[in-house]
């Protein structure tokens, strides 16, 4: 901010301002007072309020409402202490672009380079984001990892976070050898461990050894919260959720302290997850709401009822998984949905319910129908999260029940080919993440990244929803493509609506927070294909400018 200001009113001048307000879709000037939008329009419009200070930093830029990520996790910020070895490009908190590693050799080379930079001889080498689904039948094994180091212990966490690969020193430290006789420990033809460890029990001894590394409880760590803020800012995001939060005393205190710092670039919306932290119930959220600030907004409640489609743990209706894998798992018994959700609904709280497979979606619809019959509530905005496989009949029910849907549209690109060929087959892959159907039905909708599962970048997510291209270039169900204007609305006002924050953020209108994404080009005018590569210059949060590093 300019210290020499003579007026408390600042006016940002831009090449174009995309407001998301249909009454005034475009503007060139936006006046800000006390962190809020005072006026939007032409030069004369905003001068109605008296003397202003003109800020022309953005005269060659385009402003749009600060982007809203309605389903991501602070854990994104916790991963960056480890080395990124994912298949796709990803930007770290420092703005550095980590190129995707598309061969196993490239993964090994990256690990070797990272290994050479570690000075502490005892420190393990930790990496994350590895996704073998892109390498056909080739697997990373202890042999390859031992070429990185046969002395230093190494752990490589997969993108799914349900598996990891380790080297021989880590196996030895964890006490895993050919005699170890439990599921989840990969063995080769000679009965020796391959170093691939699957699921909780097999990975546990490694977690014991690496302490807080690669851990999910990110709000316990201040640096993770800061890193998360930086990653979000780079993508033009000014409001982001932490959609599974323990509400631990320390975590909440960290969030309060950090979001209070004017230098923290994002408003955080933590969702209470009763499944991780059962005590307290609705009262816990209601009391947290009492402490809400402009930058820390408690309120949503998150439930997870099934697993993931690519992990074959989502609950599918007939005919199930294309490759014949058994149906997935429930995290809550369906017969308990009503009794578990209802107290939160009755307390006036908003539910965000993870349903990946179509059977999960169906049974959650059944439960919500019962709850709403019993305790009708206007404007509840309960939101189905992911809702990747819903068919037309389920979407119609969601519309009638007044639900919102936040689709996991990034799946179309990242796992679209896997869904087409391995998990659900062509019929259901072509209709997955059916945002355009939802739009036609008038369902309030958004799209998300679920970061760290996929990179946090709403413009990219909007591209996924509007183009529906897989990473191999296959188009999944062109009729479900969302027009670009609506896709841009979904990553701003749409997501804000699902968080009950559309009165505060999501559009550039008088009275809302002065939160903007600053772009070089106008996303509503570029060719749809360019949405995914648009340069984000930085953000403005409550009138404060946050320039991102060039990347």
């Amino acid at each position: 901010m300019n210290d020499a200001s003579t007026s408390p009113i600042q006016v940002l001048v831009a090449k174009n301002i995309l407001t998301m307000n249909p009454a005034q879709p475009y503007a060139t000037h936006v006046a800000i007072l006390d962190g809020r939008i005072l006026s939007v329009g032409k030069s004369d419009d905003v001068r109605q309020w008296g003397d202003v200070e003109i800020v022309d930093t953005f005269r060659d830029k385009v402003l749009m409402p600060g982007l809203v990520e309605g389903h991501c996790h602070l854990m994104e910020g916790a991963m960056w202490d480890a080395v990124y070895v994912g298949y796709h490009d990803r930007r770290g908190p420092d703005g550095v672009r980590h190129p995707g590693l598309t061969t196993l050799d490239a993964v090994i080379d990256q690990l070797k380079a990272a290994h050479d930079l570690i000075t502490d001889p005892q420190a393990p080498l930790l990496a994350w984001g590895f996704d073998p689904i892109f390498f056909g039948t080739k697997r990373l094994s202890v042999n390859e990892l031992d070429t990185v180091s046969a002395q230093r212990s190494i752990a490589v966490l997969h993108a799914s976070v349900h598996l990891m690969n380790v080297n021989s020193p880590m196996l030895a430290l964890a006490g895993i050898d050919s005699e170890t006789d439990i599921d989840g420990i990969g063995k080769n033809a000679d009965g020796k461990p391959t170093g691939e460890l699957q699921e909780f029990a097999a990975m546990f001894p490694v977690y014991r050894l690496i302490g807080g590394g690669l851990s999910i409880a990110a709000s316990e760590k201040t640096e993770a919260i800061w890193n998360f803020g930086r990653v979000a800012q780079l993508a033009g995001v000014t409001t982001a959720t932490d959609l599974v939060n323990d509400f631990s005393e320390r975590g909440n205190q960290n969030l309060r302290d950090i979001t209070n710092d004017p230098a923290y670039p994002v408003r955080i919306v933590p969702a209470f997850a009763p499944q991780r932290c059962p005590e307290g119930g609705p009262q816990r959220v209601l009391s947290a709401i009492g402490d809400n600030t402009d930058k820390l907004r408690f309120g949503p409640v998150k439930f997870i009822v099934d697993g993931s489609i690519q992990g074959f743990t989502a609950r599918l209706k007939w005919p199930g998984y294309l490759n014949g894998k058994p149906n997935g798992l429930w995290l809550i018994p369906p017969s308990q949905f009503v009794e578990i959700f209802a107290p939160f609904h009755e307390a006036g709280l908003q539910l965000h319910i993870h349903t990946n497979g179509d059977e999960a979606t169906e049974l959650v619809l059944d439960a919500l129908e019962k709850i709403l019959d019993r305790y009708p509530r206007l404007d509840h905005r309960h939101t189905l999260q992911h809702c990747q496989m819903a068919d037309a009949s389920q979407l119609a029910r969601a519309a009638k029940l007044g639900l919102c849907i936040n689709f996991f549209s990034n799946h179309l690109y990242y796992w679209g080919d896997a869904h087409y060929e391995q998990t659900m087959g062509a019929d259901r892959a072509n209709r997955m993440d059916a945002a355009e159907s939802a739009r036609r039905l008038g369902i309030p909708f958004a799209f998300h990244s679920d970061a760290p599962i996929t990179p946090l970048n709403p413009l990219f997510t909007a591209w996924c929803a509007s183009q529906r291209e897989t990473s191999s270039g296959r188009v999944l169900g062109a009729s479900e493509r969302v027009p670009v204007a609506h896709a841009l609305r979904a990553i701003t006002l749409g997501a804000a609506y699902t968080l009950k924050m559309d009165h505060l953020v999501g559009s550039i209108e008088v009275g809302k927070f002065a939160d903007f994404a600053v772009l070089d080009d106008d996303p509503s005018e570029v060719a749809p294909d360019r949405l995914k590569t648009l340069q984000v210059w930085g953000t403005v949060l409550g009138g404060r400018i946050f320039q991102g590093p060039a990347g």
């Binding site: 964890a174 006490g175 895993i176 005699e179 170890t180 006789d181 439990i182 599921d183 989840g184 420990i185 699921e199 909780f200 029990a201 097999a202 546990f204 001894p205 977690y207 014991r208 409880a217 323990d246 997850a273 009763p274 499944q275 991780r276 932290c277 059962p278 005590e279 307290g280 609950r315 058994p326 149906n327 798992l329 429930w330 995290l331 809550i332 018994p333 369906p334 017969s335 308990q336 578990i340 059977e359 049974l363």
Partner: protein, 318 residues
Amino acid sequence: MTASGFRGPIPLIVVGGYLGAGKTTLLNRVLANAGQRRITVLVNDFGAINIDATLIRERTDDVIALDNGCVCCSIGGRLVDALLAVSNRPDPPDFLIIEASGVSDPVRIAQIGLLDRAYRLYGIIVAVDLASITQTLLDAYVGEITRQQIAGATAILLTKTDLIDERHKAAAVAELATVARTGIMLEAENGAVPLELFFDDNVTGQLPTNWSRSMTGSNPKLPVDFCSLLFRTTAPLDRKKLKDALRSVSGQLLRAKGLILLDGEAATQELHVAGDRILITPFRGEVVTESVIILIGIFDNKTKQATLDALAAATSTQ
């Protein structure tokens, strides 16, 4: 524990079973009869923990402390954190029980006790509501996970048996037998859980004199053939044959443990078996000159001899 101060792994029992099968009743019974043992219970589920109010000394946010020194914690989904915390305590519990959620597979959690050095698996006890199991197994949404729970059990606790007549009971037990790998199915009459499922020292039988705890009293509610069995040999045992022999009797076996001499291994080995899950690790205590294995399970005179014969045949042949 040995005189050298080496702290052994914490015995771990995972309790599973579908909703309403009686897991909480079972836990209350075990906690009320903990005796001198300091038990920690982790409830890996959500919703209120229903611990018998008369046992509770103090209740905080997510921890219930009992008068007898036991602790019950509601951990929701934070199992990794909770397990690390329990094993890192300066005074770890004598016994850890994890109550798995009604739709989870207790085997997944139990495997911690076969791999992590801080824990040792003593059993996977799955409660089955005998009155409704037939219907539950047919359920389109939870039938499969219930089947998986039963298949993974090292012992099954039959509950609500008083709600059905003998004919239904027999039919339900027969159906369970086609799913379960264990043949150990015990009835909990009016919630009276046989504590022998949890604690060795409640089992009647023969014990080597140097075994750390003596066994007390017999339980009239147990099957008459529920007992412990002792095997000893000075001939070194063959690792593979021993495992095969143990697996061949795993349907009747609740638990087995022992200190053994293996062919090709200079050090004494510790054997630990829960159902058909076998763990052999180098023993850090004193060196033995004779292999001693104690088995607990349901053995009649015939299977008793067959078991001892199978173990005797597992000695190295060279």
